[in-house]
C-alpha cells in the first residue's frame, strides 16, 4: 500500500520535473516570460490521448504530442517576438485561456467538458506499461533523457546565446546572432518537452478534461522554477522534489481530497509570494526574475 503511494508520488515528481525543466529552458535561460506553459502541456495531453484512442501506437503518439506542441511553441513565438515583459506574460497567459476555450468547446474533437476517459496505458512494441511500477520506470527513463537533452542544450554554445539573449537581447543581435530565431527555438523546444509531459500525464491518469489545464496548474510549476532558481537545473530538481512532497503530510492528518487539493494550491501560492518578496533569486538561481 505504502509502496503504491510512493510510486505514485515518484511519477508525479517525474512529470512535474519535465514541466519544470522545460519552463526553465524558456524562462530561466532565455528570459521568455512564458506563462502559457500549461497550454503546451494540454496540447500534448490531448494529442497523445486522441491519437492512442484512435489506435495509434503510444510511441508515435508521445512523439507527435511533443512535435505538435513544439509547433505551437514556434507559432506562438512569431507574434510575441517583439513583446516585452508584461505584454509577453499576458499574451502567453491569454494563450492558455484560448487553448482552454478550444478544449472546452470543440466538443466534436475533445468531448468538451466530458473529457477523454479510458486513455490506454502505454505500450511499446508489445511491452505493456500498465502497472504503476512499470510506468515509473518508463517515466524515469524519459526524465533522464529530457534532463540529458536540456543539459546538453544549456551547456553548449547555443545555451550561452540563450543566456546572452536573456541578459541583453540587443547586444546579442549586435554580435550578429539572430535572436528571433533563437527565441523561437527556445520556446519550441520548451513546448516540445511540455508536450511530452502532457502525454505522460494523460496516459497515467487515463482521463483528461479541460479543467486539468488551467492557470491553477501553472502555479506549482512557476513556484518550482523560481524557488529552485532561474537558470539552475540542479535547483529545479531539488525544488520539484521538495515542493511536490511538501503538501503530502496533509493527507495523513486526515483531510479529505477535496480539502487537500485547494490547500496544496494555497501552500504553493503562499510560497510563490514569499519567494518573490524575500528571495527572488531562489536558492540556486543565477539570475533574478526580470
Amino acid at each position: 500500500m505504502i509502496e503504491a503511494y510512493f510510486i505514485h508520488l515518484a511519477i508525479l515528481v517525474g512529470i512535474y520535473l519535465i514541466l519544470a525543466l522545460s519552463l526553465q529552458l524558456a524562462l530561466g535561460y532565455t528570459g521568455l516570460i512564458n506563462l502559457g506553459h500549461i497550454a503546451f502541456f494540454a496540447i500534448g495531453a490531448y494529442v497523445s490521448a486522441l491519437l492512442t484512442l484512435s489506435g495509434i501506437p503510444f510511441i508515435i503518439a508521445i512523439l507527435l504530442a511533443g512535435v505538435i506542441s513544439a509547433l505551437f511553441g514556434f507559432l506562438l513565438s512569431i507574434p510575441t517576438n517583439k513583446l516585452k515583459g508584461d505584454y509577453l506574460a499576458l499574451a502567453t497567459l491569454a494563450f492558455t485561456f484560448v487553448i482552454y476555450a478550444i478544449t472546452l468547446n470543440w466538443a466534436s474533437l475533445t468531448r468538451g467538458p466530458l473529457g477523454l476517459p479510458g486513455i490506454p496505458k502505454p505500450s511499446i512494441f508489445g511491452l505493456s506499461f500498465s502497472s504503476n511500477l512499470s510506468f515509473l520506470i518508463l517515466i524515469l527513463v524519459i526524465v533522464l533523457a529530457v534532463y540529458f537533452l536540456i543539459k546538453r542544450i544549456v551547456y553548449s554554445p547555443f545555451g550561452k546565446v540563450l543566456e546572452a539573449t536573456r541578459d541583453n537581447e540587443l547586444a546579442t543581435r549586435v554580435l550578429g546572432k539572430n535572436t528571433f530565431k533563437i527565441k523561437s527555438i527556445a520556446l519550441g523546444a520548451s513546448a516540445f518537452f511540455a508536450g511530452i509531459a502532457g502525454s505522460l500525464y494523460a496516459h497515467y491518469i487515463t482521463y483528461i478534461d479541460p479543467s486539468s489545464f488551467t492557470i491553477m496548474q501553472l502555479i506549482p510549476i512557476l513556484c518550482i522554477v523560481i524557488i529552485g532558481g532561474l537558470a539552475s537545473l540542479r535547483g529545479t530538481i531539488i525544488a520539484t522534489i521538495i515542493l511536490i512532497l511538501l503538501p503530502e503530510p496533509l493527507r495523513f492528518i486526515g483531510f479529505p481530497s477535496s480539502v487537500v487539493g485547494p490547500m496544496r494550491q494555497i501552500i504553493y501560492a503562499l510560497i510563490l509570494l514569499l519567494i518573490l518578496i524575500y528571495r527572488p533569486k531562489g536558492f540556486f538561481g543565477k539570475v533574478e526574475l526580470e
Partner: protein, 245 residues
C-alpha cells in the same frame, strides 16, 4: 568604405540627425566629434540597424545596408561598441568573448548533437586576447563582477575579437584610467596596422585628435566641419559649436 548620404532621423519634434552626409575612408581612424546632442550616437544606432531612418542611405562597401537588422549589419563586417556597457552580466568573461567568435552557436541541432564544441583554437584566441589586455585572471569571473573600466576593456577586446573590417566605437575611453587609455590607444593603432577601419565617437579631445587620421564634426545633426586633426583644432566653426550659440 562607409558612406552616409542625406541621412535624417527625428524623435518627436527634434531632428536628431538632419540631412547628414559623409564618407569614411578605408583603413583610417576617423573621429566623430561634436557637442552633446549633436546626433553622434543616433548616427551610430542608424548604421547599426538599431533604429530606422526617416530618409537617407547608408552604404558599406558598395552594399546598401540602410534598413538591415542589427544582426545582419554585424554580419557584413561592422562591429559596434556602445557607450553603456553591454557585457552579459551573468556569463563569464570567457563566455562573453567566445560569443563573439563562435559562428555556429545559433545552430540548434548542431549544438544539441554535440557537434559544436568550443575548439581549442577558439579558446586559444580568447586566452591570447585576455593576455593582451592583461586580464587573464578574469576569465571565469561573471560580467557583473567587473568594474566599469574592466568591462570597457573586455568589450573593446570583444569588439576586435572577430576580424571585423569596420569598428564603430562609441566613447571607448570614457571613465577609464589613464593607463588603460594608453593601452586602448595602442590596441586601436595596432588594429589599424592590421587593416581595420575605425570610426569613433569621443568627447576627450586630446585622445580623439591625437589618434585620428580624419575628424568629422557634427552639430545639430549635420556635418559642420571635416578634416585633419590640425585643421579641426583651428576651425572657428567648431569652436563656436562647442561654446554654444
Amino acid at each position: 568604405m562607409l558612406k552616409i548620404q542625406n541621412l535624417s532621423k527625428h524623435f518627436g519634434g527634434v531632428k536628431a540627425v538632419n540631412n547628414c552626409s559623409f564618407d569614411i575612408k578605408e583603413n583610417n581612424i576617423t573621429a566623430l566629434i561634436g557637442p552633446n546632442g549633436s546626433g553622434k550616437s543616433t548616427l551610430f544606432n542608424l548604421v547599426s540597424g538599431i533604429i530606422k531612418e526617416d530618409s537617407g542611405k547608408i552604404t558599406y562597401n558598395k552594399q546598401d545596408i540602410t534598413n538591415l537588422s542589427p544582426e545582419k549589419v554585424s554580419n557584413t563586417g561592422i562591429s559596434r561598441l556602445f557607450q553603456k556597457s553591454q557585457l552579459f552580466d551573468n556569463l563569464t568573461i570567457k563566455e562573453n568573448l567566445l560569443l563573439a567568435i563562435d559562428n555556429e552557436d545559433t545552430k540548434f541541432w548542431k549544438n544539441l548533437l554535440g557537434k559544436n564544441k568550443t575548439t581549442k583554437e577558439k579558446e586559444e584566441r580568447v586566452n591570447k586576447l585576455l593576455k593582451l589586455v592583461e586580464m587573464e585572471s578574469f576569465a571565469d569571473k561573471l560580467g557583473r563582477e567587473l568594474s566599469y573600466g574592466q568591462k570597457r576593456l573586455i568589450e573593446i577586446a570583444r569588439t576586435i575579437l572577430n576580424p571585423h573590417k569596420l569598428l564603430m566605437l562609441d566613447e571607448p575611453i570614457a571613465g577609464v584610467t589613464p593607463k588603460l587609455r594608453t593601452k586602448i590607444s595602442e590596441i586601436l593603432l595596432n588594429l589599424k596596422k592590421q587593416g581595420a577601419t575605425i570610426l569613433l565617437i569621443e568627447h576627450d579631445m586630446n585622445f580623439a585628435l591625437n589618434l585620428a587620421d580624419e575628424v568629422i564634426v557634427l552639430d545639430e545633426g549635420r556635418v559642420i566641419a571635416k578634416g585633419t586633426p590640425n585643421q579641426i583644432k583651428n576651425n572657428k566653426k567648431v569652436l563656436e559649436a562647442y561654446l554654444g550659440d
